[in-house]
């Protein structure tokens, strides 16, 4: 306790690419990019059922538990480095 505590400061780094995407946005983008879900209709409507179905398909492909929900391991899988070739072809 004799060592003085170094005050941790958070700095804004110029040019830092911050990916401010919510998990839901990430999931939609991922499912569309890799062919699990069609690109959104012009209305922007995407039913919950189709998202859940797409998630299950993605989870099956990735060998994850098929929950159909955006759980922690699914988000982690979506953030992992990967090949850009779609998993499902239209």
């Amino acid at each position: 306790w004799c060592v003085p505590l170094k005050k941790s400061v958070s700095v804004t780094f110029p040019g830092d690419v911050l990916k401010n995407m919510t998990d839901t946005e990430l999931a939609n983008s991922y499912l569309q990019r890799f062919g699990y879900m069609d690109v959104q209709h012009r209305s922007g409507f995407q039913s919950m059922a189709s998202t859940s179905k797409a998630l299950m398909r993605m989870q099956r492909q990735m060998g994850l538990e098929e929950t159909g929900t955006l759980d922690k391991s699914t988000v982690a899988a979506m953030k992992a480095p990967r090949c850009g070739v779609p998993d499902v072809r239209s």
């Binding site: 110029p14 480095p81 990967r82 090949c83 850009g84 072809r89």
Partner: protein, 572 residues
């Protein structure tokens, strides 16, 4: 495994590839090697061969690019998407693209290949000690020319082995300057530059002029990344500057201070507080070999697998000792089949694999007696000890095989074995060549008996000998037979009736109308390149042999069988 819809695949097995450009992350030779190894992953288990082209259009065009790189499928900066490839076909189909915003390595951090120095291009050894200090990166310590260097063993003081690290002061890559080093300062659009720059480019690649004035000479090259080059930030590719000042404190190594995400960073000038130039420190990076092997799987027609340990699984994971998963092998076999025939093995240059059974040794024949002692020759022929226990079945490749007096003769290193047609295929030997044909060298490239004169011709290099009974003529130059002086040896000979013979070398053969006149009439090119080593005629068939294998051509000039010399001809 999965294949693309319609089972897209190449309609030929000799696939070509071309590397269009390089990443600054690794030396060109390391990149070449990583791609070659990635192709080998697939050629090892299929009849496919991969040949690199240096210009023109190849089946698989390989390139690095960033973000929107021209194919309508942009990359996404560091991490995320690493690469993509298109299924087989014309144009962009079959091509493989790698995201150059990634840090490409061999999977375990920067692999720094040295040049010059005295380590013959070895990789840096990190850490290494020099002058009582340990170094985990290349250093310019001890040099006045500012060239970064490293030791290629752990202790420079002891081993004195070193090389120079990638630096724009040593060389550039791609561009139009044949790899020449940067010239600093240089002028570009009227401005003077003291270092590599990304100015004038939209892709973020760092470049420099290789003359003092780019505006005038238009000579440039891309700068290789130093091992301490940062990723991202606002100084991509610039090396960390140690020490640097951040919020008044001095840092001698990368730090996560100031960041909430814990990522290590460094300043690329001496003072972040005044210059705010920074980037992330290098991580383990992505294995170019592993990613390329995956992408080339796509380029051959494999789609993503859902087996986690398969190479064609879409997500990246580093494995130290890579081998293809059964799923990958089954997928590629579905498209192209597996290595089945000796032709495949030969085409792929795999000559020494395969079982090597040790069979029973045939009894030596009566005349001449097989040698058990070293013999001395009275000629310039080198003597060669003969091991009577040596079986021809242990030999993968004979120097030559020919028919003499109706018996097949197998020659190897001054010895020969005889398979008599009279003794029902019994094998006799080994015999010493120096006893029966003392003038002939230990290694002969080709031998044949002229059916008309019963003369036996031996070829070794550019010389040949002609035996008539015990008398010998030669050595004479093969130029005497009309072959050009550029022909280094006669690799095979094929009798075409009495007094006629075809002499083979490489992809050429010469038709000899009569050996007595020694006139060469025609030069032809065979269809199979470098295929023929020795040729022998057995009961109407011609056997074209190379290494362990033969192709049997029947009287209709059709190859009707491919097999092993030792199993089919020697009955091993």
């Amino acid at each position: 495994y999965q294949t693309f819809q319609g089972d897209l695949k190449w309609d030929h097995h000799d696939i070509t590839y071309r590397i269009l450009n390089y990443s600054p992350d690794m030396g060109a030779s390391l990149i070449d090697d990583a791609f070659a190894r990635a192709f080998k992953v697939w050629s090892d288990v299929t009849p496919l061969t991969f040949t690199r082209l240096f210009d023109g259009i190849a089946d698989i065009m390989v390139s690095f690019g960033k973000a929107d790189h021209g194919d309508g499928y942009p990359f996404d900066g560091k991490d995320g998407l690493l690469a993509h490839a298109f299924p087989p076909g014309e144009g962009i189909q079959g091509d493989a693209h790698f995201d150059d915003d990634e840090n490409w390595t061999l999977g375990k951090g920067a692999a720094v290949k040295t040049s010059f120095g005295n380590a013959e291009g070895a990789l840096c050894h990190f850490p290494f000690s020099f002058g009582g200090k340990q170094y985990s990166t290349c250093t310019t310590e001890g040099r006045s020319d500012n060239l970064p260097w490293c030791a290629t063993t752990a202790d420079y003081g002891r081993d004195k082995k070193f090389g120079f690290c990638p630096s724009e002061l040593l060389y550039t890559f791609d561009g139009n300057s044949n790899g020449k080093a940067c010239v600093f300062p240089f002028v570009f659009l009227g401005e003077t530059y003291e270092g590599c720059t990304t100015e004038g480019r939209s892709d973020g690649y760092r470049w420099c002029s290789t003359t003092e004035n780019f505006d005038k000479d238009k000579k440039f090259g891309f700068c290789p990344n130093r091992d301490t080059a940062v990723i991202g930030g606002n100084s991509e590719g610039e090396p960390c500057h140690f020490p640097f000042v951040f919020l008044g404190n001095k840092y001698d190594s990368c730090t996560s201070e100031g960041r909430g995400d814990g990522r290590l960073w460094c300043a690329t000038t001496s003072n972040f507080d005044t210059d705010t130039k920074w980037g992330f420190c290098q991580d383990r990076g992505y294995s170019l070999f592993l990613v390329a092997a995956h992408e080339f799987g796509h380029a051959l027609g494999l789609d993503h697998s859902n087996i986690r340990n398969a190479l064609m699984y879409p997500m990246y994971s580093y494995v130290e000792d890579f081998s293809l998963h059964k799923d990958d092998v089954e997928g590629i076999h579905y498209l192209y089949g597996m290595i089945l025939s000796p032709c495949d093995v030969i085409r792929k240059g795999i000559f020494t694999t395969g079982p090597d059974p040790i069979p029973t040794i045939p009894s030596p024949g009566p005349d001449p007696k097989p040698d058990t002692t070293t013999t001395k020759s009275t000629t310039t022929t080198t003597t060669h000890p003969v091991d009577p226990s040596q079986s021809p079945c242990q030999i993968n490749k004979f120097d030559t095989i020919t028919e003499i007096d109706g018996d097949l003769h197998f020659f190897k290193d001054g010895q020969y074995w005889r398979m008599s047609s009279k003794t029902d295929g019994g094998l006799e030997g080994p015999f010493s060549m120096s006893k029966r044909w003392p003038a002939v060298p230990v290694v002969v490239d080709t031998a044949f008996e002229d059916l008309a004169t019963k003369k036996i011709y031996f070829f070794s290099g550019t010389r040949f000998w002609v035996y008539t009974g015990q008398s010998v003529l030669g050595p004479r130059s093969i130029e005497k037979l009309g072959l050009s002086s550029t022909v280094e040896k006669v690799e095979g000979a094929l009798q075409r009736g009495k007094g006629k013979v075809l002499l083979f070398n490489g992809e050429n053969y010469w038709r000899h109308f009569t050996l007595l006149c020694t006139i060469v009439c025609t030069k032809h090119t065979t269809r199979e390149r470098r295929l023929i080593l020795v040729i022998v005629c057995i009961v109407g068939n011609s056997y074209f042999c190379r290494d362990s294998f033969y192709w049997r051509m029947n009287s209709n000039r059709q190859v009707d069988r491919v097999g092993y010399v030792k199993y089919d001809l020697l009955n091993c």
